[in-house]
Symmetry: C2
Amino acid sequence: METNSFVLKGDVCYNISKDLFDLRPLGYVVCVNGHSAGVYDNGSLPEQYTALPLIDCGHQLIVPGLNDIHVHAPQYGFRGIAMDLELLDWLNTYTFPEEKRYAELAYAENGYSIFAEDLQHSFTTRAVIFATMHVPATELLMDKLEATGLKTYVGKVNMDRNSPDYLTDGSAEQSLSATRKWLSEVESKHYVNTFPILTPRFTPTCSDELMKGLGEIKAELGLPVQSHLSENLSEIDWVKGLCPWSTCYGQTYEHFGLLGSARTIMAHCNYSTNEEIEILKKTDTYVAHCPQSNAFLSSGIAPIRRYLQEGMNVGLGTDVAGGASINMFRAVADAVACSKLRWRCVDQNLAPLTIQEAFYLATIGGGSFFGRVGSFAKGFDFDALVLDDSGIRSPRELNIAQRLERFCYLADEGGKLTAKYVAGRQIQL
Amino acid sequence: METNSFVLKGDVCYNISKDLFDLRPLGYVVCVNGHSAGVYDNGSLPEQYTALPLIDCGHQLIVPGLNDIHVHAPQYGFRGIAMDLELLDWLNTYTFPEEKRYAELAYAENGYSIFAEDLQHSFTTRAVIFATMHVPATELLMDKLEATGLKTYVGKVNMDRNSPDYLTDGSAEQSLSATRKWLSEVESKHYVNTFPILTPRFTPTCSDELMKGLGEIKAELGLPVQSHLSENLSEIDWVKGLCPWSTCYGQTYEHFGLLGSARTIMAHCNYSTNEEIEILKKTDTYVAHCPQSNAFLSSGIAPIRRYLQEGMNVGLGTDVAGGASINMFRAVADAVACSKLRWRCVDQNLAPLTIQEAFYLATIGGGSFFGRVGSFAKGFDFDALVLDDSGIRSPRELNIAQRLERFCYLADEGGKLTAKYVAGRQIQL
């Protein structure tokens, strides 16, 4: 569908604040030129929109699209296996050998086709994605993602130390030069949906010289940055040894200008110290909370309640293949469940997340990294999912909020995505 | 299909011990008169079975059926909603009002039809189920389950104290009398798949007199028993107050003869003391581990590694609607994930469960409650699932163990159940 102005009618639900849903039974959501023109009650569609095409979704749920702000495309091929190790051993034993394969374009063609197709059919409307260090495969991934119509940031991974011989950029200079080559080639492609993001893998695999150079590219080109932070206790100890000059892990990025201006995503932040939290706050850095991955890799549970209390930017990530599922509804449910276990087992001062809060993280929380994204409020980009939950059967009458909560828990057990829009354009399902 | 002797051919996987899979690529599993006659390698089917009908499943996975040893049928209608409270408040606010509706047979007809149909189409081959206190609805549920072909135990719930006026048997005498009436009516139905199980809800809602009477019925009729134990800290405190004579919560069941002879299932056991563990061990009581429910109700995480080290009987339960999903593969994955978080956050002396161990719990672990169930070893009841995992796409070649692990994590994201057998009879899907 090429028209960018239309009206959806159905059971509308979205966050109007971190902890509150706006619910509109058989309400209208109006899209004008790819942006929301607001939400209206049943029977109250303003006169000026009555001439637009009306898509009647019946009693299906209409919710904002979900934003996955941390996922590794080349790891999709081994999702759900090799779940027996912690982070550092898992990287060396399973992840690096798999990423090595993306040196071959034929393997990348196969792996990235599957990833892009599955992401297109998923509940995700926008994503922030790690590729591998390989420039040709990364561009191939970007070509494929561009064709899906989803909005994504994609990063060629940088790594120049503590990396296996078969998966390293070589020197810092070589890594920076490959990055500039990649950025220049990407620029010439004139993508409209797909954008580059600087991607130092994490401090252990990136020398100070490399970090410094990436900081310079960031400043020069105004690019966003993604990386990992304080995911696992052994990793944090390692960073202390590698950067004896640093005051905390987070400072190893800040020092080189890699944080700042709300343009950086740090995945995990499970063990951020007070000092690290101050750095994340003052740089408006996004925390990508990845509850499934943090459980599966035995990493722990991030104190998301605290980050919300501190007013920090927080979104959700599936972190495939630390996480097994690209289902962002599952990420919402896992965020709630893990926050309960943290409350029970770790710290009763931090109350569990509510379903409203977790859904906020998946919509506006991560969406704001892309701009005005994640809400149906007037002026937001029109990203929407239409959800048929009639296959999740019950003898009860449920209200819209209950049906949305249930969909978070049971999306794949009877739920169905029937339409998906990104910036007003319908995605082929 | 009425024939009870046949051969399945495919990629076979089952536990030969708690921590070891037997893997047979394109192997045979032989069913003779509803029992396994063993597993054979590709090309090595013994002469005496070559005349049996051969069902070629290609490269689909063939695994034992999964046994859900703790699930509440009347709570299925509100699975995935109302996940904001802990156990005792959750019972009073959401669960008891929902169970009340099963006083009306029309509501029960609707609710139990959905439950029985969904269970029939699920990965579960056998289940141990709570109904409500209502005798007519419980019999209706049993009628419906009988027709599915699944093997189940079903309990009319007993409750005579600390229960709302709208959901109580009244006195202990009335509760016992209703139970005897139910048992007598069930006997006259001559079910072949469906069996009664005594079901004191839990100590807080069952007076000593009621417990005593149920113990007498157990002794008289040799019936099995199911209940809840040490799920939540407030619940445990409450039981201490209600039974000041008891040495631990578990003893409140043992004292009345409700444990013993490997015929009792206690759900949860998240906080069992050393003394309680000794009681469970000496009575061969089954622990129904329900990791999803224990997370969703903020209850905690059971020390299953310890129970395995102690040689205790342990199976898995979905505990719908404390848990949201009846997918037993999800229960396997959740058991692994929660054991990792327990290791990380609570006690590093108890190693996380492996996928082999968790799959053992779902097959033989809980299956042994039903007899020789949960394995393809010779003599076991022939319960099997045939699984098409070709929809879970990957550029990699995976071995059978990897494919089964992946199925546990992603059963509902591309996996498909194509055939299901219980005691050699094919279940209609």
